[in-house]
Amino acid sequence: MSSRRTLATAHRVLTQLRHDRRTVGLMLVVPCVLVGMLAWIYHGTPVFDQIGAPLLGIFPFVVMFLVTSVATLRERTSGTLERLLTMPLGKLDLLLGYELAFGAVAVVQAGLVSALSLTVFGLDVAGPTWMLVLVALADALLGTALGLFVSAFAATEFQAVQFMPAFVLPQFLLCGLLVPRDELPDVLHAISSVLPLSYAVDALRDVTTNAEVATSTWVDLGVVVGAVLLALGLGAATLRRRTA
């Protein structure tokens, strides 16, 4: 592993994004519009204050998962991955390069959505804004790491896109946003307890209600970061220099 190669990879991924202004626009504008719409839908009710903050963490997760799984699949099918693996590039250089690049985009995305939500859309959050952005960043890194991992199992773009409903929607349904996790049937509650997004949403709920950052919030954040590392390890295991 080398920091120079990791940074070069992150720089390359960001340069690719810079050439694709429409994707950047969609990544930044769509979450803002959706959160704004939600605020409007629940105007005059307390619902937006309850789900607004958790949603801030879900957007980067979904968007980065999709973008990364397609980007990595392209590396595999275009042959650039094979070229890189014949060069002195560590597997982690590649994976962390993607994490850094998409993490940077996520910070901008989360910062923008948070700022708009707290000012224009009237979201009321008791805790500090930086914690919102921090959890959103962890979610983005999780989405990127999972995207890198599952792209190994997709042979085509069609399959890669289908992994979104397969990997992301169950986490979304069970994370406690629709029904509090305590009220889920036992089996579903047990499943939700092993899904990392549940901990991200718990952390964001804490930020919504507590002015001080509680220890449990840090623990939840730690679980998400642990899941990122696990997914990265699995992703590295799927990158083989030698293939059949």
């Binding site: 340069t15 690719q16 042959g79 650039t80 094979e82 014949t86 002195p88 030698r242 059949a244």
Partner: protein, 253 residues
């Protein structure tokens, strides 16, 4: 210079590769001396790309030995000493030529000035800041070739680098390969166009995963009593078929 440095650039001993249950390379033994241009010639699907993948160490092999620059193929120490150009243009279509090469140079730890050098060598100077995806197929292939030239590798493994190029450019590239060999670089260049044999110091003729010849052009022509590579190739195929009838091939395990 130790003994490993003085040996051949490439030495294959009984290489066997099985892909999808099919024997793709069958007992291939060959050597490529340093500082030479070896032409790996054969029809499409004969195993050329698989052999090249074995040389750069990304192919799972079923048996045999692959030594590159005195080390087993794919050794970490070889990763900056071997340049590889795949058949598909393995470059980023959404980056410019220069951005692609800067990235690969950074990965290799090659100096920045190398980017301009290789852009000139493949004659892409006027397109250096163009997005690769908007270039023609031949230009895209040259970007891929340029990436393989970064860091001045001792061995270049080039899979069909001249396919689809205009004749002038093809001549220029063969001139470049000749220059590189003159400076001590070893090149293994594949092609399905038999006429390209004239540019090579040694010919490796491959058909259906078996090596028909590992010789100079003159040697191949003399041995087969033919006047061009195409005819020599056919003659060697007939010879192999005859010896197969006399002594049937062992079936793939």
């Amino acid at each position: 210079m130790n003994s490993a440095e003085a040996g051949p650039a490439v030495a294959l001993q009984g290489l066997r590769v099985v892909r999808g249950g099919r024997l793709v390379l069958d007992d291939v033994t060959l050597e490529v001396p340093r500082g030479t241009v070896a032409g790996l010639l054969g029809p499409s699907g004969c195993g050329k790309s698989t052999l090249m993948r074995a040389l750069v160490g990304v192919q799972v092999v079923a048996g045999g030995e692959v030594q590159v620059l005195g080390r087993p193929a794919g050794s970490p120490a070889l990763r900056r000493r071997v340049g590889y150009m795949t058949q598909a243009p393995s470059v980023y279509a959404d980056l410019t030529v220069r951005e692609n090469l800067r990235y690969f140079a950074a990965v290799l730890g090659a100096p920045h000035s190398d980017v301009d050098r290789v852009v000139d060598e493949v004659e892409l100077g006027s397109h250096a800041d163009a997005i690769v995806g908007r270039l023609s197929g031949g230009q895209e292939a040259r970007v891929s070739l340029a990436a393989a030239l970064l860091g001045e590798p001792e061995l270049l493994v080039l899979d069909e680098p001249t396919v689809g190029l205009d004749p002038v450019l093809r001549r220029d590239l063969w001139g470049l390969f000749r220059d590189l060999a003159g400076r001590g670089t070893t090149l293994v260049v594949s092609s399905h166009v038999m006429d390209e044999a004239a540019h090579c110091d040694r010919l490796l003729l491959l058909r259906e995963g078996r090596l028909l010849a590992d010789d100079t052009l003159a040697g191949v022509l003399t041995r087969t009593g033919t006047s061009d590579v195409e005819a020599a190739f056919l003659s060697l195929v007939d010879q192999a078929a005859r010896s197969d009838r006399d002594e049937p091939r062992r079936s793939p395990a």
